[in-house]
């Protein structure tokens, strides 16, 4: 039986990191811990961090896969800077992660994997369990491999398959330690391994054995079971969501709000592929998914679909955007709506595919031949991907223009509780197809939005030709007239600029709308910046957080808002991109704070940056 909660030590927040070989199932264990933690009512944020290799050589440091979860009885904004608990399934996992721990952190080690061969592969000259390396920490040494083998022995698996259950043994121990209900995970195993009953039962047995171990074995002093009370979240119905799930749902929602069916052209690429996977399962929602031969074909199919009267969408990451560049220019010239989702990763070139970065902003804004402006929006959190995917769709259709949604690997893979919206409460933006023959030409414009008419093939009397050649403003025919090109270039820019009329004004996330320092961010750094600014404000500093989700056009009040701060600090996971745009647009003395490590900001890094700016300014 579980201990009554009065016998558990109460904590307000905990950060756990699970680490093991990339084949050890750390991501699966992490996802299950996330699920049960959400159901237990804590707020949370997660950070899966895994190598690009599907199965890197076992035991090596570069094959280590990690999953971090931060949960609390209050608002959680980031997956946490430093783990309070590290589960290390082998020496390599210990070696890679030990540096992130504060003294006193709890380390659970699978001693069964600390063999001479594994120690050598991890680069340990001596055994860290014996040479004092772990003295600063609280350590629980368990031969998880042996315990797992014993627990699953009745199922007569081969030792390889038997050992693969050890992630669930470790998960069982954590469930006991943090007062989690194992039922949802047992139910998940029932579903996942319905066709493999032996594997299902072995994993269940391992989970229960880990849990029972915690209950029965005497733990070292200083280690005890804990409980983290429920968080106070806004009332409503919640679920966990990753950024990529929310993006997929947001795209479907956007199409439905417009009254359109969707055609997704996509080519597999990390970390964007699972948006394609999610959408491929939603075919009954008027979604046609098309896995194309390459990135270029993916956007071209989307453009073709938009030409024919559906919502064309393409999902990719930075290298894919590079390949799509010419076709984006075509959609700009032909004035067709396409939603382009760029789930950013570390670059340039192949870069670090599984690591996060925010370095495609300038590519999205400017990376094309000719004067080729497009709307650009960015999601701040996993749940915000839903909202901003709808917004990208709305803006693309309103101005008949390809539109970027930027997310990043961090929020794409990270999960957080999300208050589920009611579809009927979302504002609709139905599309109107042109059918009037009188005076028709394909570049007739709406006087308010400057968008051209959308006349789809199949409509009698509206046969017309469009393409990448410059068109005459008044007839839509090919034109090389100098004044006409000037005019068309201006109108393509103006219709994007006018979207500023229909986007929300810039708000301040934390703090006053004026003061000594504004910390201005965009995209997935929201949580870290918000947490850092709140902490600094608690310490009495005059600092505010402004987080920009509409990057082109900017909200109308942004320039004026920024002018009310003495200093502007722009933290970005790149070498300085938004900071350049802010400086050039608003002539403000914005200063960059750049981290280009493939890892998100730590709250502490931002806190010290803010502190140092305010001290210097004082």
């Amino acid at each position: 039986m579980d201990l009554p909660s009065r016998e558990r030590k109460q904590l307000d927040e905990v950060v756990i990191r699970l680490a093991g070989d990339s084949g050890d199932g750390m991501q699966k264990a992490g996802e299950q811990f996330t699920l049960t933690t959400a159901l237990a009512g804590n707020d949370l944020a997660t950070f899966p961090d895994f190598p690009a290799e599907i199965r890197a050589p076992a035991g090596t440091t570069f094959g280590v896969s990690g999953f971090q979860i931060h949960f609390a009885d209050h608002d959680v904004l980031t997956p946490g800077d430093r783990p309070d608990v590290l589960v290390a399934m082998n020496p390599a996992a210990l070696k890679v992660n030990l540096g992130d721990l504060e003294p006193g952190a709890l380390v659970i080690v699978n001693t069964g994997a600390f063999t001479p061969a594994n120690l050598r592969k991890a680069g340990y000259a001596s055994n860290p369990l014996e040479d004092g390396t772990l003295d600063p920490y609280r350590v629980i040494e368990i031969d998880i491999s042996k315990q797992t083998l014993a627990a699953v022995e009745p199922f007569e698996l081969g030792s390889r398959d038997a050992l693969r259950c050890k992630n669930f043994w470790a998960l069982g121990l954590l469930y006991w330690m943090f007062d989690r209900d194992p039922e949802p995970t047992l139910a998940w195993l029932d579903e996942k391994f319905a066709s493999k009953p032996v594997i299902r039962d072995a994993n269940k047995a391992a989970l229960k054995a880990g849990h029972a171990y915690g209950e029965t074995v005497e733990l070292p002093s200083g280690v005890e079971p804990y409980r983290v009370p429920r968080a106070k979240l806004a009332p409503g119905l919640y679920r966990n969501v990753t950024g990529n799930e929310a993006t997929a749902w947001g795209l479907v929602a956007g199409a439905r709000l417009a009254g359109l069916e969707m055609v997704l052209g996509s080519y597999p690429i990390t970390p964007a592929s699972n948006v394609l996977h999610y959408l491929a399962r939603l075919r009954h929602f008027g979604v046609t998914t098309f896995q194309t031969e390459d990135e270029i074909a993916a956007i071209c199919a989307a453009i073709g679909a938009s030409f024919a009267g559906k919502l064309g969408v393409t999902t990719t990451s930075g290298p894919g955007v590079a390949l799509k560049t010419e076709a984006i220019g075509l959609a700009i010239a032909a004035e067709l709506p396409v939603v382009i989702v760029d789930i950013q990763r570390a670059g340039p070139s192949t870069g670090m595919p599984t690591k996060t970065e925010q370095s495609d902003l300038l590519q999205a804004m400017y990376g094309r031949n000719g004067d080729a402006p497009v709307p650009v929006v960015a999601a701040a959190t996993p749940g915000d991907c839903f909202t901003m995917a709808i917004e990208a769709t709305r803006l693309a259709l309103r101005a008949m223009v390809p539109t970027f949604l930027l997310t990043d690997g961090y929020i794409a893979n990270g999960a957080a509780p999300w208050k589920i919206p009611d579809f009927d409460s979302l504002p609709r933006f139905p599309v109107h197809f042109h059918e009037e023959r009188e005076g028709f030409h394909p570049f007739l414009r709406d006087p308010e939005t400057l968008a051209r008419v959308w006349a789809k093939p199949g409509t009698p009397g509206l046969e017309h030709r469009i393409g990448g050649l410059e068109k005459d403003y008044d007839s839509g025919n090919i034109s090389y007239d100098p004044d006409n090109h000037h005019r068309m270039t201006k109108v393509r820019a103006e219709k994007v600029a006018r979207l500023a009329d229909v986007i929300p004004e810039q708000e301040v996330s934390s703090g006053e709308d004026h003061g000594e320092l504004a910390v201005v961010g965009w995209g997935g750094t929201y949580g870290a910046i918000e947490a850092a600014v709140r902490k600094c404000r608690e310490r009495g500093m005059s600092v505010s957080h402004i987080h920009i989700r509409y990057l082109h056009p900017f909200p109308k009040n942004l320039g004026e808002l920024l002018s009310r701060f003495d200093r502007i600090l722009v933290p970005e996971l790149n070498n300085g991109q938004l900071v350049k745009i802010l400086r050039s647009e608003f002539l403000v003395p914005a200063e960059g704070l750049n981290k280009i490590a493939g890892q998100p900001f730590k709250v502490s890094e931002l806190e010290s940056a803010i502190t140092s700016r305010l001290q210097k300014g004082a």
Binding site: T292, L462, E463, R465
Partner: protein, 343 residues
Amino acid sequence: MAPDTPRALTRKDFMSDQEVRWCPGCGDYAILAALQRTLPKIGARPENTVFVSGIGCSSRFPYYMNTYGFHTIHGRAPAIATGVKLANPDLDVWIITGDGDGLSIGGNHLLHVLRRNVDVQILLFNNRVYGLTKGQYSPTSLVGQRGPSTPLGSVDFPIHPIPFALGANARFVARAIDTVQKPLMEVYERAYRNKGASFVEILQNCPVFNDGAFSSITAKDIASDRQLWAVHGEPLIFGKERNKGLRLRRDGCGLEIVTIGEDGVTTDDVLVHDETNLALATMLAHLQPPEFPMVFGVIYCNPAPTYEREVLAQNELARQRFGEPDFDALLRSGHTWRVDPET
């Protein structure tokens, strides 16, 4: 029947008001005229017809058709056309491309639109040269082609469009000649009637940069000896006297030319064209002058389900299996929990 019965259309209904701007004497004029004559005869409707092209001389084609048209970017027309068909499979979609657009920069997309069997007609104008950029050699140029980028002659081997298409699993492959109008129109109609990707190579003369590239096949005095027009179910016969034929070699693998009436050869010895036979089509596709005649007409036609119909059938299946889409239920699938207002 539509509410107002459509009147019979003529060539003029398919001609746009744009002035045609190819060089005088360009083979494209004949290709355009033949199609504008064919479409009304075969029941095409302008509002239901879409021409998609890439970049190059041939790709100006859509501007001259009074239909829907999309002049896109270099090599990508097959991908854009596939998107059009996925969005609306009821449209008649024609892809207009050339040897550079289709086989150089766009070779990848051409390969995939063929293997997927998207229901489109692909007209590849092959003039064995880059015209729009002024005379560089193309991937179908013969070895030794001189041009501004190859003053000493090209050294790389050409690709032949018909074997390429067969290699890509095309289910309909035909070849025609720009100025030989009646057979060209017949090929257009066959391509239009075929449900699936219909690939047509049209030998097209570029009078400015590669004049006479095919004169060893098309010149009037030798045409009948150098052209074999294949007809399904009929013997593969050619020549001025209609007395030459193809038969399987007796001494190895491949085809040989025989003369009817010599060495005891009769018409019965000549191979009969079977357009559903891939092995035969593959042999015919590779025949090149001067050793053999070049084969024209429908070389291979063996229909298969089209990509977009299969995809849309899956969409329909999903609708049947999962019922009416319920977006709120989707967002609430899996584990959820309720946070109650604090009392």
